[in-house]
Amino acid sequence: MASRTVKSRKSRVVDPGDHSVGDGKLLNVVGLTTVFHANGRDVRAVDSVSFHLSPGETVCIVGESGSGKSVTSLSIMKLIENEGGRVVAGSIWFDGDDLLKASNEEMRRVRGRTVSMVFQEPMTALNPIFTVGSQISEAILLHTDESREQAWNRTVDMLRLVGIPEPEIRAKQYPHQLSGGMRQRVVVAMALVCNPKLLIADEPTTALDVTIQAQVLDLLRRLKRDLKMSILLITHDMGVAAEMADRVVVMYAGNVIEEGSVEEIFDRPLHPYTQGLLASIPGRNGVRGARLHAIAGSTPALADMPEGCRFNPRCPFAVDICRVEAPALRLVDGHNVACHRAQDAPVVAARTSTAQ
């Protein structure tokens, strides 16, 4: 029923000349702008963000805290309204449909079935008063006609697949009886049980300790291959991005400031901000364990964004134009960057010193 309405809507709203449809992209975010209402006015947490993701690809969104990564992912799921935000412009093309034009009921059928999401905090992401098995089964029952037993069996299989020992027993336990790593596996199992085409994982490992973190990342890689899905992975850890990504989208203060293949970004970072992020990876270039080279300063508050390039107050290379004109994303040396000085000598020099 819903798929039929989606299809008929497609033919109505999609301009045949629109390049965003039918070019093989699974997800194409175009000009996404999301605002929060604060002190009587709207502030833009995400401003004209565009990026895309092809089937089978892993795209990482990286950026410091507050750069708008979570707001972007929640906007894609259309869950941002529950957090008090509002998408005011843009399109989110998924598999040929603009999710922003989908009704609540259509969106409900997308969530958990074709697009799933895993959140950062495994300790609070599960409902404390229901067994983990029932929470996974719920996802199956919501999207299929399976009986309770069938759903339960599939739940147990899924728990086994994500590497939980004794899944029959674990399925009947409550979240507080499981460790953090276990819970995150449960959350992953819940997200993947309906075999989605796209998994959005918002810092799925940040709250976990390092060994568990590596296990969960391995798990995501394995499941991606086995279940043939795509992953939009959000992280502020460049190490995780290097390990997981096919392509990297770098965000700063609500903008995409650089975007390209993982090799491009890591070997030839064009934006001074990306260069700073890379320099902050421990053990990268130079002595292992050398003091982290963090970027001085912090992300500006939404309410007072600097004029021009939003990074200019923190940028070592900023010149006059950076303070008045916001740079557009443009193709430079094989990937996209939003920096007036990307091709200027000092920035180019810095690029080689931060790259491997």
Binding site: R111, R113, S116
Partner: protein, 314 residues
């Protein structure tokens, strides 16, 4: 679990003893002489003295107290000074009306509170929410006796739809029983419903900000499932405390309402026994109220472990 319940039940005994002692002391330290009350103002001092002796009231206080404790420990709460009936019997015949009224009021309050709280949460941010808030405030703060009198004069006197007062036991006809209790139960329910609904609404709004609600939405749960299953079940945990206190209060006898509607319940008995200085009955009735409170609290604690898997009693 069984061990826990046994321990809790055993702990009731000292609680009741302490309550009894406090009531005993309060009664005997306040002025007023039951012998005088029984015999009336015209009685001669000599007759009062004889009766005082018969009732054991001429003994020193500590001696009366010890006698009382001794009797209580043997399960004998004494005899009413007025009815020539055991205290246990005097209180027991009042439990039926009070339990009927409390049960009905309790059901009414839940039937009013739960749907209205759900509606307020479902339509949060709309005009319904301030309406709900003022409604619950009104319910909580409206004086019982006032609402009772208004209802009596409207439905009882003017329209003649319902009996003005009194009580008919259940075995004399459900219809009669219900029609007599409808108004008093509603009066009681309005107040409790205000409290319960407010607690449930606040609890649910609180729960709706939790991460697991976002997880539920992310897996495709619709608003109805999110509210009725995920949020409601979690918000019920804090609400159960209020529901339990409310039930205990109702079972303990709604004094004002029982008096206004002339329902021969425990609340009414307490008022009568204070007026007539019927010490043994008053003590027994108050101990009954205390017992109800303790038992309902135990019930609530057990309910917690059913509602919340994180709560385990050993």
């Amino acid at each position: 679990m069984i061990g826990y319940i046994v321990r809790r039940v055993l702990a009731i005994i000292p609680v009741l003893l302490v309550v009894g002692i406090v009531v005993f002391m309060l009664i005997h330290l306040t002025p007023g002489d039951p012998a005088q009350v029984i015999l009336g103002d015209a009685a001669t001092p000599a007759r009062v003295k004889v009766l005082r002796h018969q009732l054991g009231l001429d003994q020193p206080l500590w001696k009366q107290f010890l006698t009382w404790v001794e009797h209580v420990c043997r399960g004998n709460l004494g005899t009413s000074l007025f009815y020539q009936q055991s205290v246990v019997h005097t209180v027991a015949v009042r439990v039926g009306p009070t339990a009927s009224l409390a049960g009905l009021a309790f059901v009414f309050s839940l039937v009013i509170a739960i749907p209205s709280a759900l509606l307020a949460v479902w339509k949060r941010g709309s005009l319904l929410d301030p309406i709900f808030m003022s409604g619950s405030l009104l319910g909580v703060s409206m004086p019982n006796f006032w609402l009772a009198l208004m209802m009596i004069s409207l439905f009882g006197v003017k329209l003649g739809w319902l009996p003005v007062s009194g009580y008919v036991p259940l075995d004399q006809g459900v219809g009669l029983w219900f029609s007599h209790l409808l108004m008093p139960a509603f009066v009681l329910a309005i107040q409790q419903a205000g409290l319960i609904a407010r607690m449930l609404r606040d609890g649910m709004l609180d729960v709706l900000h939790q991460d697991y609600i976002r997880t539920a939405r992310a897996k495709g749960a619709g608003e109805r499932l999110v509210l009725l299953h995920h949020a409601f079940r979690n918000a019920l945990i804090p609400t159960v405390t209020v529901i339990g206190t409310s039930l205990a209060g109702l079972l303990g006898g709604a004094v004002v309402t029982e008096v206004v509607f002339a329902i021969p319940g425990v609340g009414n008995l307490i008022v009568q026994s204070i007026a007539s200085r019927d010490f043994p009955v008053l003590t027994g009735a108050v101990m009954f109220v205390a017992l109800v409170y303790v038992l309902v609290n135990l019930l609530i604690d057990l309910l917690y472990s059913v509602l919340d898997p994180r709560v385990q009693y050993r």
